[in-house]
């Protein structure tokens, strides 16, 4: 079983559209994991049935029991996150600022502070239109995207892939270079970088690739909207050569991506145009890179 992670650094490069196309091309052989839990969009293209759903708890949140609070202010003294609110002598916790370190509860002389387990979202296992399974999640508003929910989604997908003897897991990774991406990347066999030939596309590709290098992972790159700026496209190509990154494909600037999305479809279902052909070839190339 091989784990393929699709990331981009920059948002809006077509990462999810590409991932969904690969998932459709892989069909029954592929378990899909949507690890972009903060703005999960894969389900809009995969027709999931949300067969199984579970709450996800991670971290804690302080809560002050008013009847036991003697307003001594010790909690406020030790809190580094300005999470203790004082209104007319009444002490409460601002849930959006509290990081659940539990320090306040430890110093409270009357044990008025309780740490409650924090529900940070939900995760799901769904049957999807490819005849396979997708593991996905929804992070709660303002929740700490510490990467734990991402790790949960990935591990569930891994277990299912093992159980059902699937060949591949395709993971839609998160944007940026912080915790969620680190969680998405760990354990990957191959990283697909989706980028675009823009100043920001190249900038973010370089930053996120530094992270990929730290993990010592093999990577390939799909340049989306490759004909938008030939100068930037060739700069990306040079970067790929320098870093020994497999150049998987150049996709043209093509609004049929959006047209397909509007119908809830991936490109490879929507049409048999050039874009669909290039994606089909990309899937073959990715599989070859894994051998």
């Amino acid at each position: 079983m091989k784990e393929i992670v699709v990331i981009s650094g920059k948002g809006g490069t077509g990462k999810t559209s590409v991932t969904a196309s690969l998932a459709v091309l892989g069909g029954k052989d592929v378990i899909v994991a949507d690890c972009d839990v903060d703005a999960a969009d894969m389900h809009l293209l995969m027709q999931p049935d949300f067969e199984k759903s579970e709450d996800f708890f991670s971290g804690e949140l302080a809560y002050i029991h008013q009847d036991e609070c003697i307003q001594c202010g010790k909690c406020d003294d030790v809190c580094r996150f300005n999470a203790v609110l004082i209104n007319d002598g009444k002490y409460t916790i601002d849930p959006l600022s509290c990081e659940g370190c539990g320090y306040c509860a430890r110093v409270c002389p009357t044990k008025a502070i309780e740490n409650k387990d924090l529900n940070v979202g939900k995760w799901y296992v769904s049957n999807i239109k490819t005849g396979s399974i997708m593991v996905h999640a929804k992070l709660g508003i303002g929740a700490d995207n510490s990467g734990k929910l991402v790790a949960k989604v990935k591990n569930e997908a891994k277990e299912l892939a093992k159980e059902q003897n699937k060949d591949y897991i395709i993971i839609d990774g998160s944007p940026g270079v912080g915790c969620p991406v680190v969680s998405s990347l760990s354990g990957a066999h191959f990283v697909v970088l989706v980028t675009e030939p823009t100043v920001s596309g190249l900038h973010d590709l370089k930053r996120v690739y530094e992270l990929v290098k730290k993990f010592n992972l093999k990577a390939g790159c799909i340049i989306n909207k490759a004909d938008l700026n030939s100068q930037k496209a060739s700069e990306i190509n040079e970067f790929l050569k320098e870093e020994n990154i497999v150049h998987i494909a150049n996709l043209p600037y093509d609004e049929s991506f959006t047209k397909a999305m509007t119908l809830g479809q991936t490109i490879v279902e929507y049409s048999d145009n050039n874009l669909a052909k290039l994606l089909t070839e990309s899937w073959v190339k990715i599989k070859q890179s894994l051998i």
Binding site: G11, D41, R106, P197, Y253, M261
Partner: protein, 288 residues
């Protein structure tokens, strides 16, 4: 007046709106633009400015002093993040897990875990005439964006106490970094695109802003692509649409080379003008 530019989905044009709007406003007034997308800061790529000041940003983590340690185990017990672990006769600190809560350090009976600074990123302040630009970038391998975002906002508040327009280019999503970046905003502009992904993520962003009790409006980018569902949603929810930026390959090309779009595309400039008028209106109302 603090204006945050945010979006649920990445790549909808937050940075395009931020840099063009800030530069356009700076043609007449003093403006501060701050890039709070510290994981992938991009605004600088579109601005010609000169470096005015640069500083390292630190977060505090505990450092183990073996000689003072009695191996009582309290530090490990009080750390909710498993960032301090007792392993045999030594204490291990995992900086990337540490939230700088100070519990281990201050509850240690023998002061064996003093807090020391470690670099988490770099803040740069650039100036070009009326435009002040501040950005911070997280070091690769540092996992927590929130403390750096908080320190960057503090820097801007310190340097610019006066009531001028301050624009914050926020990170994408709806989790902690966005909350931190929009916490102090007087108004939030949510940038979206009229596609199913755009609408889905816009709804998440709207829920977040309602939770934070923020005033907000929407800018629709790539207008003309996709469908009308985003507009129907805004009408239903009574959300003002501040601008509609046309879908155009030319705009995408200008953006791709790092140039300011409003200087070359009149239809784009008109949209910046609409946003500007809106901001000046609410700024005036706030002053009254």
């Amino acid at each position: 007046m603090n204006i945050a530019i945010a979006s649920g989905k990445g790549g909808t044009g937050k940075t395009t709106v931020s840099v063009n709007l800030a530069s356009y406003l700076a043609e007449n007034d003093k403006v501060v633009l701050t890039d709070l997308d510290v994981e992938e800061p991009n605004s600088k790529l579109f601005l010609e400015t000169e470096l005015f000041h640069k500083e390292d940003k630190f977060k505090m983590i505990p450092e183990w002093i073996e000689d003072k340690c009695t191996l009582c185990g309290i530090c490990q017990k009080v750390c909710n993040y498993h960032a301090v672990i007792q392993l045999g006769p030594s204490i291990l600190v995992f900086p990337e897990l540490c939230h700088s809560c100070y519990a281990c350090s201050e509850l240690c009976p023998t002061d064996a875990l003093p807090m020391i600074p470690v670099k988490m990123g770099e803040l740069s302040h650039y100036i070009n005439d009326n435009l002040n630009f501040v950005e911070s970038r997280l070091e690769i391998g540092q996992e927590q964006a929130v403390p750096l975002i908080a320190q960057t906002i503090d820097y801007v508040h310190d340097k610019f106490p006066e009531d001028i327009i301050k624009i914050y280019d926020s990170p994408p999503g709806t989790s902690c970094p966005v909350i931190e970046a929009t916490k102090d905003a007087d108004f939030v502009i949510l940038v979206t695109e009229p596609t199913p992904f755009g609408l889905h993520d816009l709804k998440l962003a709207v829920e977040t802003m309602k939770e934070l009790k923020k005033e907000f409006g929407v800018v629709v980018n790539r207008h003309g692509i996709g469908n009308d569902n985003v507009f129907d949603y805004c009408t239903q929810e009574n959300i003002p649409v501040l601008a509609k930026i046309p879908n155009s390959r030319r705009i995408a090309e200008i953006y791709s080379s790092g140039r300011l779009v409003y200087k070359e595309v009149p239809e784009f400039k008109e949209q910046m003008e609409s946003i500007k008028n809106f901001i000046l209106k609410i700024k005036k109302e706030a002053a009254e």
